[in-house]
């Protein structure tokens, strides 16, 4: 049908906007970088961006259910501390360690999900509490920064492939292909969108609400632990840093918003959030390229965020019944 394109555009508008904005920003960045866009510049930028992008993917899953996950950064920190302890030794031990880290992340997410579903607590309160618990566990594992990680794995994930392609980008694409795309196209993924868009309608339509939420939270925890693992590979160590956890949590929410995912749930895509994350990182880099003092970075990032959120609320101007504004 001829109209298909326009409907597709309508549905993916947020994601496409984030993509276009990122490409524009990155082009300016690369064009003005003193060293030009060589493989090293690209790899450094990619490693920073991918780390936030994975956390933003994790955040997206929960936001789609119209929840919010404030523990996502802490799960990453916990995974980081755990990985710096167990992802070492022989290849077999390393592989087992990776599995252990991922399982821990999935478990953290599952706990969040179970509390939200069966405890009927608000996601925001639940994840503040569990986030503190996960951070406590991270502190218990690593009182002082340190540890090590298998260097073959670390170099493979953070280095360059043939032709100078950053390996981290391949990791990100792989995560999208293995985790996000199947989720988006599965019945349970559809249910997640339905729950976030209108829980009442989803219930009336016989959608498995609990299973959808559980899947979203668990996958979110899993992705957060992938981010933790990647962080370990970048820093070669583990650190129970509360500042790191909180920063990534907040930035992931920013990335999700920039990526066109609705904080009310039910619309948007993890791919949009990825570009949102990359865009957020590029803003910081842009200031660096143009020799702006680093002091201005948070202010500038904040301005961009406010602008993005305002774009999203333009539709409110069209509302005819003012009660709907508060509904």
């Amino acid at each position: 049908m001829s109209g298909d394109w326009s409907y597709w555009l309508r549905e993916h508008r947020g994601t496409l906007l984030a993509f276009v904005a990122f490409v524009a920003m990155f082009t300016i960045y690369a064009a003005n970088h003193p060293a030009g866009l060589n493989a090293n510049v690209a790899t450094t930028a990619a490693n920073k961006g991918v780390l936030l992008a994975i956390v933003a993917m994790a955040q997206t899953l929960v936001v789609l259910t119209s929840g919010i996950d404030l523990s996502v950064g802490m799960v990453m920190v916990l995974a980081n501390c755990l990985a710096s302890t167990i992802v070492v030794g022989t290849p077999a031990q390393t592989a087992l360690g990776v599995l252990g880290v991922l399982a821990t992340g999935g478990l953290c997410g599952a706990i969040n999900g179970l509390i939200v579903i069966y405890g009927r607590l608000q996601p925001i309160v639940t994840t503040i509490a569990t986030g503190a618990v996960y951070y406590g566990a991270a502190l218990a594992l690593r009182r002082v920064p340190g540890g090590d990680v298998d260097s073959t794995l670390a170099d493979a994930l953070t280095g360059q492939l043939a032709g100078g392609v950053p390996a981290s980008l391949v990791l990100l694409v792989a995560l999208v292909a293995i985790v996000w795309v199947p989720f988006r196209r599965s019945a349970i993924g559809r249910a997640t969108y339905a729950v976030g868009s209108s829980e009442v309608a989803a219930y009336m339509s016989g959608v498995p609400i609990r299973r959808a939420k559980f899947a979203a939270y668990t996958l979110s925890g899993l992705l957060a632990s992938v981010a933790g693992l990647f962080l370990t590979c970048v820093t070669y160590s583990g650190e129970a840093s509360a500042a790191n956890g909180s920063t990534y949590t907040l930035y992931s929410i920013a990335a999700v918003v920039l990526g066109g995912v609705s904080l009310f749930g039910g619309s948007g895509s993890a791919i949009g959030a990825i570009f949102g994350a990359l865009m957020f990182r590029t803003i910081g880099d842009l200031l660096f390229v143009f020799n702006v003092e680093p002091l201005w970075q948070p202010l500038f990032q904040g301005v961009v965020l406010v602008a993005a959120v305002s774009l999203g609320s333009l539709r409110l101007l069209r509302i005819r019944n003012r009660l709907d504004l508060y509904g």
Binding site: R185, S186, S197, S198, Y203, G266, R320, N321
Partner: protein, 508 residues
């Protein structure tokens, strides 16, 4: 397919109700507001569980813990706009309960085919399967809702006011679809307030009144008049205060509305409201009464027409403007829990909210004045509370409603709009409320009073404006306000012989 029968008994909103529905028939369910129709279908659809009674499907007792279970048994209900997910596409919505899958993933091509087929069956081929539901008009959404129900291959299809939002063209299509489904052997349960629809479609009818099924009959065997008779019938008769004869004055009306309109929900509404008058808003639920009150109170954006207070034109752009002294308008909202009260806050804080302007100097609340005023109102309304420091949420429904009303009385409103204020409160409190309305009117307020309870309108009002489809269709005055006349004009079946009193066309 065997004959299908269902029986229920003794549900609170529904007592000893019975309904027998046969395959290959269209069964209409009638009744006035709150007669138990909605409860009945919610039980059938697995949304609420019955307290007592049995439901039989093909002679076997069944019970549905969830809508999904009812669907699995072949019972599909089309609610008004409740079950579509706004952020998903039409095709996603149609396939939502059981999307076609290949290798565990949703097969979009098969889903697209399924959606196109269902839309065609519902006569809505012109809706694009990839359109997002939130971008569709109300009428189109309703068509998607019907297509979605059909895609589930139901054996029993329940339509609850399914045509209320449809355009005339869509209604014609739906009639044809329903008749075809009947020929295919489905059992259809059709709930509608539109008598001509029932005459056109139904094979059998069952009338509900006060939660009971009072009569079942073959369509055509009773006249409209007899049906209205069946729908009347009350268990209690509340005691109403006597009406006060109002001196006719030539003062400008307190509130005058001319040609008020808002989207397609309110059409060309003109009315006058005089000081000392209690004017009722009648009609079936959802004919625009709520919107009219909100429009007057300035909540709706983009209204057309003119409003004048005491003969002076005003533009009320929001509740903050409406409550200004020279206008003095107050609205008692329908949903007291969300729009009327801050439940966790104390009774005193709730009462003084609207009047804080009068109780404070330079922005500082005068606590003594506040306490005195609040205590006065609590005594006046006889709010039963253990003290004004209690959270409002701790009071009973009736007393909460008194607080909502008291909150606006503190600012001595000149125009009082009430949106079904007695819903869900006990008879005793209701009577106190009626008394209060009359006293307020006698002291010079103008009152516009929407109620879904016809008894109340008959007992309380000096005049009643009956709304249908967003317009005022009839005005009943004085002794002409009878339950029979109200129901007849609410159903918009014309004045001829519908009541003892003459029913006049709205004059203004």
């Amino acid at each position: 397919m065997q004959g299908v029968s269902k029986r229920f008994g003794g549900v609170r909103a529904l007592s000893d109700a019975e309904l027998v529905v046969e395959a290959g028939r269209i069964h209409a369910v009638l009744g006035e507001n709150g007669a138990g129709k909605s409860t009945l279908i919610k039980i059938m659809a697995g949304v609420v569980a019955p307290d007592e009674g049995r439901m039989m499907l093909d002679g076997q007792p069944v019970s549905f813990p969830s809508p999904a279970a009812a669907n699995a048994a072949g019972i599909v209900c089309i609610f008004q706009e409740l079950s579509l997910i706004p952020d998903l596409s039409v095709a996603d919505n149609i396939a939502i309960s059981n999307p076609p899958r290949r290798f565990g993933l949703i097969d979009r091509r098969a889903q697209r085919r399924m959606a196109e087929e269902a839309l065609a069956r519902a006569g809505a081929e012109n809706i694009h399967p990839l359109a997002l539901v939130k971008d569709l008009s109300l009428s189109r959404r309703q068509m998607v809702e019907i297509a979605k129900a059909l895609a589930r291959k139901p054996r029993i299809l329940i339509l609850d006011e399914a045509t209320s939002a449809l355009t005339a063209a869509d209604v014609t299509k739906i009639y044809a679809v329903l008749k075809r489904l009947r020929a295919e052997g489905l059992a259809l349960i059709y709930i509608s307030h539109r008598m001509h629809e029932i005459a056109e479609l139904a094979d059998e009818c069952t009338v509900f009144c006060n939660g009971k099924s009072v009569a079942s009959y073959a369509q055509g065997s009773k006249t409209d008049n007899e049906v209205v008779e069946l729908m009347i019938g009350r268990e209690y008769n509340a005691v109403f205060p006597a009406r006060t004869a109002r001196a006719v004055s030539d003062a400008a009306p307190r509130l005058q509305v001319r040609h008020l309109g808002w989207t397609d929900r309110l059409n060309d509404i003109s009315l006058e409201l005089h000081a000392g008058e209690v004017v009722g808003l009648g009609g079936l639920d959802g004919q625009g009464q709520r919107e009219l009150l909100l429009a007057l109170f300035g909540v709706l954006h983009g209204t057309t027409g003119d409003v004048a207070i005491d003969g002076k034109p005003v533009s009320i752009t929001g509740p903050d403007v409406a409550k200004r002294k020279e206008i003095g308008m107050a609205l008692i909202p329908e949903d007291r829990k969300t729009e009327g009260l801050m439940l966790p806050m104390s009774v005193r804080d709730n009462l003084s909210f609207a009047a804080l302007g009068n109780l404070s100097h330079w922005g500082i609340v005068d606590r003594t004045a506040e306490r005195d005023a609040v205590d006065g109102i609590v005594r006046l309304l006889a709010v039963r509370t253990d003290g004004t420091d209690l959270p409002a949420g701790a009071l009973s429904g009736g007393n909460q409603q008194k607080v909502v009303i008291g909150k606006w009385l503190m600012m001595a409103p000149r125009i009082l709009l009430l949106n079904d204020p007695t819903r869900g409160i006990d008879v005793g409190t209701k009577q106190e409320m009626y008394q209060l309305l009359r006293e307020l009117a006698d002291s010079g307020a103008a009152i516009l009073f929407y109620s879904t309870d016809y008894d109340e309108l008959v007992g309380c009002c000096d005049r009643v404006l009956v709304m249908y489809d967003g317009a005022i269709k009839r005005e009943l005055v004085g002794a002409d306000i009878t339950e029979r006349a109200l129901i007849a004009s609410a159903l918009n079946i014309g004045a001829e012989g519908a009541g003892t009193g003459a029913v006049t066309e709205a004059t203004s």
